[in-house]
Subunit: 248 residues, 2 copies
């Protein structure tokens, strides 16, 4: 539809991202309500200036440290994430030795398969989510399904664009939770150990770059984790959004 | 999908509105990018408190006066507006003796027909937009098409949820332009004679109620029009949004 967005267009990146999502609907990856959710994110991203603010970069670094220090790190992927950034999910999993698990708000075996196939086409070798033999307590039946050897046993979970109920239930389980969400006051961001207020398309490669840098430097991961202040990061993001440009 | 949203749900109105739009996609009224645009609007509506703020109510009153004082008022309708509020468009047209014209960002005879049928099913008797024998100068070919006896000859046009280029081109033509847009700093809102920063679902009935009240009272329409201050209304809406709640 807009494959021909010129590079000079002031909102070229945002328009191309949108194209990927619309294509994802055609391919059975994303849902219609997923498109609306993306639009809400776009509004917050405008206000952020469509850039990774310094506090989000610090959050991405802390998130990378959590993943590297984990025994069983898992990246949870829904339809929007798979449509928007499949190669970036795979690259982050590669940089941090994390597993990938498909988890959907409206679970359907057909959509899980389509998303798993899409991730494999972008290099994923091992995609969880189809077994559905694990449970997240505190959620109604369908929403609580996960894989026993994926999210159920994970000690660190990345949940980009996750809904509030699910994020809260995962936090209750005592897992370290990394949330990527453009609204700093969403429940998902509020319950996260590491909230990254950034577009998922930017946050994933930022995390991967930090992970490789921390690994190569043999960094003190516990130190990086300890020095991150989630409340300060959320407050900074909220301030940036409230002062942000509303012009289109 | 969520026909069963309970009244007690804090966001029941917003969720039902969303359902109408998703249904509109199924029925060929709305487009996929229309769903994303709706999501952006939702974010701004959260920040507004999902209510008609007093400055938006004053704008709706001024808009009603413009429509009543016009020789050829026209309400422009796109896919999202038709899906969200067909009966409210028809009621506003009825209250102000305005014509209805279907105008789409991505023009297709099939979608115009589907939208016109949908409006007729909700009581519209005369729907323009299919002739396409008029032109709005300053826009590339498809975007500039309108009806000669509709928007082309109109002196007052209501454009809910209009894109910036089109809104600017209509303003250039010297027509009085009433824009309904949840972002006070969008180009559409900025070029409007009367910007109504409100959800279209609330703004249309508010305008219709004001029109009936002004008519019955035999009000001084020029006075109502003259006392409205667009810049003050936009500044008030922006202030409200910046101070608004971000919690979900």
């Amino acid at each position: 539809m807009t494959a021909d967005v010129p590079d000079s267009h002031p909102r070229a990146a945002s328009l191309r991202t949108r194209d990927r999502l619309v294509e994802g609907l055609e391919n059975g990856l994303t849902s219609r309500t997923g498109l609306i959710a993306h639009g809400r994110g776009e509004a917050f991203d405008y206000l952020l200036g469509e850039r990774t603010i310094p506090s989000a970069d610090r959050a991405a670094r802390a998130a990378a440290a959590h993943l590297l220090a984990a025994d069983h790190p898992v990246i949870s992927v829904n339809g929007n994430v798979a449509a928007l950034a499949p190669e970036r999910v795979v690259d982050l999993a590669d940089a941090t030795d994390a597993a990938i698990e498909v988890n959907l708000f409206h679970r359907s075996a057909e959509r899980i398969e389509a998303i798993a196939d899409h991730l494999r086409a972008h290099g994923a070798t091992d995609v969880h989510g189809l077994a559905g033999d694990g449970r997240i307590p505190g959620l109604d039946h369908d929403r609580g399904i996960c894989d026993a050897d994926g999210i159920e046993r994970a000690d660190v979970v990345v949940v980009p664009l996750e809904d509030g109920d699910r994020a809260a239930a995962l936090a209750e389980l005592g897992k370290s939770e990394i949330v990527i969400d453009l609204n700093p006051l969403s429940r998902s961001a509020q319950v996260a150990d590491v909230p990254i207020v950034d577009n998922v398309v930017r946050a994933l490669p930022t995390m991967a770059a930090h992970a490789r840098e921390l690994s190569e430097a043999g960094a003190d991961l516990d130190g990086v984790i300890a020095e991150f202040d989630a409340d300060a990061a959320l407050a900074d993001a909220e301030r940036t959004i409230r002062e942000g440009s509303l012009a289109d």
